[in-house]
Symmetry: C2
Subunit: 344 residues, 2 copies
């Protein structure tokens, strides 16, 4: 593997001392960008995911405009259940829509553990094309949803405030739930290993709905499977584990072998460092809605945030994905503030 | 004031030693009850709130069936903005719907600080009628939304996953936001004082969306106003402060003069006791979706929960409102488990 020129992100993942922390933004390749909206107007969601030319172009767009220190492949966590023979649509104004959700053990009969190359080969092609376009300038991140978060959509059938049907399924049919979680886990491990083989430099696991579970249920229905994935990947590539709202599990996550943990904005830098034992690299945690603030205020708050986390063992990011209606100049201010960072 | 026969709830609020903790459930007067659905089929939402015969009957329904240790007046947090001349509708399948949300300083021109008796007198009539029906058997709780949570609806105009428009309003127009928050606070204080005069034995503040804010923004946009309300009420009546997802503020909340703090299910008993300093009464924190579990499992988990919080300085409750699709026998198991509780 030839050397990546800007290796700030990879060095932060290793815990090395850096001049300034690296920066990227969750959902940085997204709807707040006019150039993304142009592509979106022409191609539907899964066409964008499944066409390597489009996915790689979308991945590069924010880098071209803002110069983040890492790119993340444009894709969706729901390509995994789709490959597992669970139908997934993306409906305008609604978002993910699964016409035939999993609600019983019988429904699992139609779920398969797919052969990755034939079902998700388009992702690997997009990775190779993106790596070519990035030309060793910055690293490329691959990602997957956590098995629990994938289950949430497979059972609920769509987004939800509390994913009550998904939780009901787990609490009334735990055997079926664990069978599904294990199938998703097994698929995700093969999927991420294929991504590594195709060239990603790090992977991130998104547990977007882990914070809906109690600490006990989180260990049983989410973390157990996250840990399996980390165990399978950590020797090959740095793994970032992000559980939104999962402050209560940060102690266990810090001992998992993950290279870094994502932090959301409800957990202060001080709490995050305390709960994780102070040694592991942390990533986050700017409130995405705080990007509505004027650019000068954003810059002030980013500076404060870096001072709080400390410049080392730290990756600047948002606490969740960037919102579609954030002004482009505000996103620019966020990245610039990091590049201008000087310790005092 | 004549003595209430079952004073378990009031004694727990005072921190007294009790044989078993008291129990009630947030939204206990609600859609999971068939007798509630019968009334709902005949009268629309605000008719139920505004008709003392209906509101008091609905309040009593769960007591009659399950025998909780406290009743909470059937009403809605949005009667406050409604009285402030902000139109609020309740739409089937959508929930709260504000056709003309607050989006600018100019929009505040139409907001009034209402005279309570003429605008919300129906609530006081419902309290008096409910107190008569309760006949000194158990205490009656009155409630209000936190100013931040009310602002969320006033600005967003409806429910939301992230209340992005409400947060954008606060972060881009902080002067207008604080003006609105203060108007809501002033109204809420008068409203709760009138409730106390009408006979409620305790009040609870619901900060349902406090957990969407960062710890710093929470202090500025939510807690500051919660504290004003607690200061104004605490000498008259015990105040319970509940901030969903607000684990990060529990230390400040514990020093506020509130008699008890509500805890959600993401914060373990151990964390909650630690973060609050171990002295204040805590209320919660059963995951509402855990009521989907079979009754035997519910009883086991309630027992464990009481053991974890300890029987004193503790009020058994859910960590958020009971869900509409919970089986009645499961709600019964929850209450029974508390009444059967014996320390080992």
């Amino acid at each position: 593997m030839s050397k990546i020129k800007n290796d700030l992100f990879l060095r932060a993942l290793k815990g090395e001392t850096v001049q300034r922390p690296p920066v990227w933004m969750m959902r940085q390749a997204g709807r707040y960008l006019p150039e993304f909206m142009e592509i979106k107007a022409k191609y539907d969601f899964f066409t964008r995911c499944q066409t390597p030319e489009l996915a790689s172009e979308i991945t590069i767009q924010p880098i071209r405009r803002f110069g983040m220190d890492a790119a993340i492949l444009f894709s969706d966590i729901l390509v995994v259940p789709q490959a597992m023979n669970i139908e997934v649509e993306m409906k305008p104004d609604i978002g993910p829509w699964l016409p035939d959700p999993i609600r019983s053990a019988d429904d699992l009969d139609r779920v398969i553990i797919p052969e990755i190359e034939s079902s998700l080969g388009y992702v690997m092609d997009a990775i190779k094309m993106t790596k070519d376009k990035l030309n060793h300038e910055i690293p490329l991140i691959g990602f997957a949803g956590s098995p629990w978060t994938i289950l949430c959509y497979c059972v609920q059938g769509r987004g939800s405030k509390n994913f009550d049907k998904a939780k009901e399924f787990c609490f009334t049919q735990p055997h079926a739930a664990h069978a599904l979680l294990q199938q998703i886990t097994t698929t995700t491990i093969s999927y991420l290993k294929a991504k590594v083989a195709a060239g990603v430099d790090a992977v991130q696991l998104f547990d977007s709905w882990g914070g809906l579970l109690s600490p006990e249920d989180y260990q049983v229905f989410s973390w157990k499977y996250m840990q399996q994935i980390i165990d399978a990947l950590k020797s090959q590539v740095p793994v970032i584990a992000f559980g939104k709202g999962c402050w209560f599990a940060l102690d266990v996550m810090a001992r998992s072998g993950a290279s870094a943990l994502g932090i959301d904005w409800t957990c202060s830098a001080r709490n995050a460092r305390y709960l994780t034992g102070g040694q592991i690299t942390l990533q986050g945690n700017f409130d995405p809605t705080r990007l509505f603030s004027p650019p000068s205020e954003i810059k002030k708050q980013v500076k404060l945030m870096i001072d709080s986390f400390g410049k080392d063992r730290y990756i600047v990011n948002l606490g969740h994905g960037i919102l579609p209606n954030i002004p482009v100049e505000n996103a620019a201010a966020f990245v610039e503030a990091v590049k201008e960072y000087k310790e005092e």
